[in-house]
């Protein structure tokens, strides 16, 4: 049952990254691919009806994590206090930037919110990547199961008292930015036409090249810093399917972009992200938050809620997810196809 909830929480996080990933990525590239006010409004129209729903996956994943693994929630949220609060501020800035831009017709007003949307989206991508890097690298958990990390110490991931940002986590953050740029640009390619479409396509290719260039050092340094990440792949070789999905996604992005297969490219960039996330989780299992001192690792066993709680949770969670899936299919079908310049609210 605890393993099942490990998988379900992972599923929700992957859904969040896939869905909010493309609107985050769209924010990180829109100032470069959309030059005129009309084009920037097109970007907002492309994500307008869905971005809020996508972000709900983060809230729902957080809630699910809290209920299934309360000890993990308490420990990681208080330990990552400062970066989480900064993430909150960026999420707020971003939501307001998307929604308020259209309310006043003035070029300076638009410029201000464009900048807010860009900065918050790009920084969120980097912070989310750095967060993943912290979880893989391990944190200074003490015997009581708590820790506190400064934003940075000496940027050395082998330091027994590491900071949120060190060269390894920053590298993962840049990889996250690169892949979300690719993913977001792929989404804009799918949703737009004309000059915007062409520029987004070039951006997706550039993002793809950066993703390839960063995946290699990130992978190498992960196994160099944490050789223990190999162990599960040795024990259960079928797990190799997850990195293969990631590699397949990476190849797929290039092939689909070159063949102008717009939907395929978006699916492929999603497959890369899902493959990378699931690979990392597979290698971490059963740990949910590794400690610098392995004796203090938080695992699915010492961080989970009661069996009864997980069992009743499974009932309502399943119902809730079926409903959510219906809404999402419904909404995405209603708003499918290219956005048109005439209609919409932004």
């Amino acid at each position: 049952m605890t393993t099942l909830w490990f998988v379900l929480v992972l599923f929700m996080l992957v859904m969040y990254v896939l869905l909010d990933g493309f609107d985050l990525g769209a924010g990180a590239v829109h100032v470069f691919v959309a030059k005129t006010d009309a084009e920037r409004r097109m970007v907002l129209k492309a994500i307008g009806p869905v971005w809020d729903g996508n972000e709900v996956w983060l809230i729902a994943a957080g809630g699910t994590l809290f209920f299934a693994f309360p000890v993990l929630y308490a420990s990681s949220f208080s330990g990552f206090y400062l970066p989480l609060m900064i993430v909150l501020w960026l999420l707020m800035m971003r939501g307001v930037s998307i929604e308020l831009r259209s309310h006043l017709k003035h070029p300076m007003w638009a410029t201000f919110w464009d900048a807010g949307f860009f900065v918050s989206s790009a920084l969120l991508a980097i912070f989310f990547g750095a967060a993943a890097g912290n979880v893989i690298r391990g944190v200074p958990l003490d015997a009581s199961g708590f820790f506190f990390e400064a934003l940075w110490t000496n940027f050395d991931p082998t330091n027994p008292n590491p900071g949120i940002l060190d060269w390894y986590t920053v590298l993962v953050g840049l990889l996250a930015l690169a892949v979300l740029v690719t993913h977001g640009a792929n989404y804009l390619v799918l949703k737009t036409e004309g000059a915007l479409n062409a520029r987004a396509r070039r951006m997706a290719l550039a993002g793809w090249a950066a993703t390839v260039a960063l995946t290699i050092p990130v992978t190498v340094s992960t196994f160099w810093l944490r050789p223990v990440m190999w162990a599960n792949f040795g024990r259960a070789p079928w797990g190799a399917i997850f990195p293969l999905i990631a590699i397949g996604g990476l190849v797929g992005v290039l092939v689909c972009l070159l063949r102008h297969h717009e939907r395929g490219a978006l699916i492929a960039s999603g497959a890369y992200m899902a493959g990378m996330m699931v690979s990392s989780a597979f290698a971490l299992y059963p740990r949910v938050l590794p400690a610098v001192n392995p004796a203090h690792d938080l695992t699915i066993h010492n961080a989970a809620t009661s069996l009864y709680g997980m069992t009743v949770g499974l009932v309502w969670w399943s119902i809730g997810m079926v409903l959510a899936a219906i809404y999402f299919v419904f909404i995405y079908r209603l708003f499918r196809g290219k956005v048109s310049p005439e209609e919409g609210h932004y």
């Binding site: 809290f66 209920f67 330990g79 909150l88 209603l334």
Partner: protein, 452 residues
């Protein structure tokens, strides 16, 4: 001021009071927009539809603010109240996670459809999306009240050997007897906020002789729902909440009422200042025996005063609790009076000409916001010094590793951001009000109107 628990309380209190300024209007307005939209479908009078669209614009701005200021609330359980999360996460996270699964997905999906889909998908689907948004916002409120109710009145749990609580009865938590009265009172307050805002904007239009056709409609819908909601706050929801506190949290009752000594046939203090040195109420103005009757339905029932309880179980700020409660009741009474009078004048067909009463309606807009905030302060200050009533003290719930300096940093950050958000919100809503329901701010929105 450098006690991390205290600064964390300031941060939670500030961020949640600020946050709740938005959802109370969201929940109330969702109902009123559904009413406007239904009136349009029944009468086919396009002005009802334009009214719905006008309020949808204000709803949209308000909703964004509610969403962005709401995210920190869930996070803070982990960031600032880590030991509480370990202690009670197995229970309160159930209801919090259910809010995400059942309410947030629903409202976010249909809000997009409601705001962008009218022209593209037709009137029936548009009404349906308004209905679903209403359902989502009210469901969201239910799960939050259920979470809070467990902290006020823990049920369905057992203690584990490692000193935390474990869920043993899911339905007991979801159907906690504490929920009903508190949910009705919170929802009634939300509808009252929306009613006061709508009648206030309508009164402004009538007083300033612009958009008068709409002004009359807003005033009419606003005062009718406002009277129902304000009476509902008195009885049954307010009365039931009071009886509930009497039986389950008698210390809170004593502190709310400023009752320092146990009395047979206790009166209600309408005015007076709690004197924490002399432990009495200064300058009291008391209605004799009223409190005994309202709580136990008997003019001579004994009400326990604060003296009946050990000092370390008193709420941490008796005066603030006392004033919060009295402000809530006082403003509630004024709102009942103004709404009642307005409905009377509406019935006599004199309301739209009674400028003094329209002035009252317009100036009353802040009252429900203050009353709702004061009501929540009453509920939560009265829960102190407990985080989970009778089980976990607030001082034992804070994060052990987060220092006060770091919390000050984030509290000041929130204060700065929220000040900017507040100014933007007021600016944009005032602009929408100045534009009025006839024209939208953007071309496509306006084009929707006449053809619709």
């Amino acid at each position: 001021m450098d006690d991390p628990t205290l600064v964390a309380r300031w941060q939670f209190g500030f961020t949640i009071l600020y946050h709740y300024l938005y959802p109370q209007l969201t929940m109330g307005l969702a109902l009123l927009i559904l009413i406007l939209k239904s009136l349009y479908l029944r009468t086919q009078d396009d002005r009802w539809n334009r009214s719905a669209r006008f309020w949808a614009k204000i709803f949209a701005i308000n909703f964004v603010m509610g969403v962005v200021t709401g995210i920190p609330m869930e996070f803070q359980f982990g960031t600032n109240w880590a030991k509480f999360s370990v202690f009670a996460g197995g229970i309160i996270a159930q209801t919090l996670a259910m809010e995400g699964a059942f309410a947030f997905f629903l409202e976010s999906a249909f809000l997009g459809l409601f705001l962008f889909g009218e022209r593209r998908f037709g009137q029936r689907l548009h009404w349906f999306s308004a209905f679903m948004v209403w359902l989502g916002t009210w469901a969201s409120g239910y799960f939050i009240i259920a979470t809070n109710a467990w902290m006020q009145h823990p049920v369905g749990y057992k203690m584990t050997p490692d000193g935390t609580v474990e869920l043993v009865d899911y339905w007991a938590v979801l159907l906690n007897p504490w929920i009903l009265a508190q949910y009705m009172h919170a929802i009634g307050g939300a509808v009252l906020t929306a009613a006061c805002v709508m009648s206030g904007v309508g009164a402004f239009y009538l007083l300033s002789h612009q958009h008068e056709e709409y002004g009359r409609r807003f005033v009419k819908v606003g005062v009718l729902t406002g009277l129902i909601a304000s009476l509902f706050q008195l009885y049954p929801s307010g009365d039931w909440s009071g009886v509930q506190v009497t039986h389950r949290q008698p210390i809170k009752l004593a502190a709310m009422e400023g009752l320092f000594q146990t009395e047979q046939g206790a009166g209600i203090a309408i005015l007076g200042q709690p004197d924490m040195q002399a432990l009495k109420l200064d300058n009291p103005f008391v209605v004799p025996r009223a409190l005994s009757f309202l709580t136990y339905r008997s003019w001579s029932a004994e009400i326990k005063g604060l003296d009946a309880f050990p000092r370390d179980e008193w709420p941490s700020s008796v005066p603030l609790l006392y004033y919060s409660y009295h402000i809530m009741v006082g403003l509630g009474t004024i709102m009942i009076a103004v709404m009642g009078l307005s409905v009377l004048m509406l019935w006599r067909r004199r309301l739209y000409q009674a400028r003094w009463l329209l002035w009252c309606l317009m100036l009353m807009v802040p009252f429900p916001y203050i009353a709702n905030s004061a009501g929540w302060m009453t509920a939560e200050l009265g829960r102190q010094p407990w985080l989970v009533y009778g089980l976990l003290r607030t001082v034992d719930g804070a994060s052990p590793t987060v220092s006060s300096g770091n919390i000050w940093f984030t509290l000041l950050g929130f204060a700065g951001m929220y000040a900017v958000f507040g100014m933007l919100f007021v600016l944009l809503v005032l602009r929408e009000i100045a534009h009025g329901p006839e024209v939208g701010p953007s071309g496509p929105e306006a084009a929707l109107g006449v053809s619709g």
